[in-house]
Point group: C2
Chain length 234, copies 2
């Protein structure tokens, strides 16, 4: 049974999963969802998501599930694999582990030390990197797309925050080619989508001004899997 | 080489790791750290944490590492396994995976579906449950311990938030004995420590008023591993 991904093609949370699927060379069916049109709340979409976990959420607390799965971009990447429905960052971990013998090894399977460092840097991305970069992407990319003004105060605060985070990354990447060690992993992959968006803003210099961060970005963003995902965005 | 855990014996973030170590039946050395006395910033502690990742953080951005690893309780659970140093929620995942054949299987190893649901509920804990329950524990347990007044507004807001989150849990636990399915896993274990603290406050009724949440709490908190950890707290 083919994997089925529901999402918005331009959403960072969706392109992150797409990059993972391409790294693994997996076949999948992509179902574009137009969140701005409220498509994710239409019965047809809900009916497609009838697994235990999704149903529990949708039925029990409609608002909570949306505050949980809606990212700032307002996207809902949902993966269906047979009768299993997943959402959130659990999707890429699932793909990387279930298909560990297919395509590129993203979790350093069997190497407990490197695998642990993948986990550490995934946590750094979720707890430090993402909260700093998301508001910049939202204000500089999403708001203009919606025809709304962006909030310069939020941008300035987030740029300062992201700068501090990137200082840590600069130190890490000076010592280690990739975040978890000598190999590209899910930890690096999780940084691609939001960074891709910031690189199109005046704040790209946050990355280009730090030599090791810059070199890392040029390296990981030129991987064929991500290049293919970016081509589809255009 | 024996695992070495640095932490504060009463901290939820530390007891979470201890519960995991006990579930796996692993030998470990516990090094108590007194954060209130600033022990985690003393050279002796820093010298013990000289692995690549820790050093990168400590050296590159001293403040950031502390804002990252310091939990609201001000604890630093750090695990050393040989030359590998880990912090954050990555610790339990590492233990559960490296020692998958020892003690209780906490990650449903080899069952991709259940393993994925473990990941989903770990994410729900981190993104929904923890942000709601942490402020309650901080205001009701930590502040009095520090001889400081607690902020009732923060408590009220967090109690309302936690109530909504627990409605989702009630629906989930009505359909499934444990969060990820028929078996106790790391997903359940991650909820133990903060809940243990709230159960000693007037807000225990958030849990006891929801039959399935209540039954689940009575079940998972009576596991020998966690009972042993709680005895040590006393």
């Amino acid at each position: 049974m083919v994997l089925k991904l529901y999402g918005l093609p331009t959403s960072p949370c969706t392109t992150r999963v797409l990059a993972c699927l391409h790294e693994k060379g997996l076949d999948y069916e992509f179902v574009p969802i137009n969140l701005l049109g409220g498509e994710q709340k239409k019965p047809a979409f809900l009916e497609k998501n009838v697994s235990l976990i999704t149903l529990t959420f949708f039925v029990s607390n409609f608002d909570l599930i949306f505050s949980f799965i809606l990212q700032p971009f307002g996207k809902v990447p949902v993966l269906e694999d047979g009768d299993l429905t997943l959402f959130g960052t659990a999707i890429t971990g699932y793909i990387a582990e279930k298909f560990k013998d297919t395509g590129f090894d993203l979790i350093r399977y069997g190497d407990y030390k490197e695998a642990a460092l993948v986990r550490v840097w995934l946590e750094v991305e979720a707890q430090q990197y993402n909260p700093a970069i998301q508001p910049i992407v939202y204000q500089c990319v999403v708001m203009p797309r919606l025809g709304k003004p962006s909030d310069q105060k939020i941008i300035d605060e987030s740029v300062e925050k992201l700068g501090k985070v990137l200082d840590v990354y600069e130190g890490r990447l000076e010592k280690s080619k990739y975040l978890a060690g000598d190999h590209f992993t899910l930890a690096d992959l999780h940084h691609l989508s939001y960074t891709f968006n910031v690189m199109k803003t005046p704040y790209a210099s946050l990355f280009t001004s730090r030599p090791y961060v810059k070199a890392s970005w040029e390296d990981i963003s030129s991987r064929p899997a991500f290049v293919k995902v970016c081509e589809n965005i255009k």
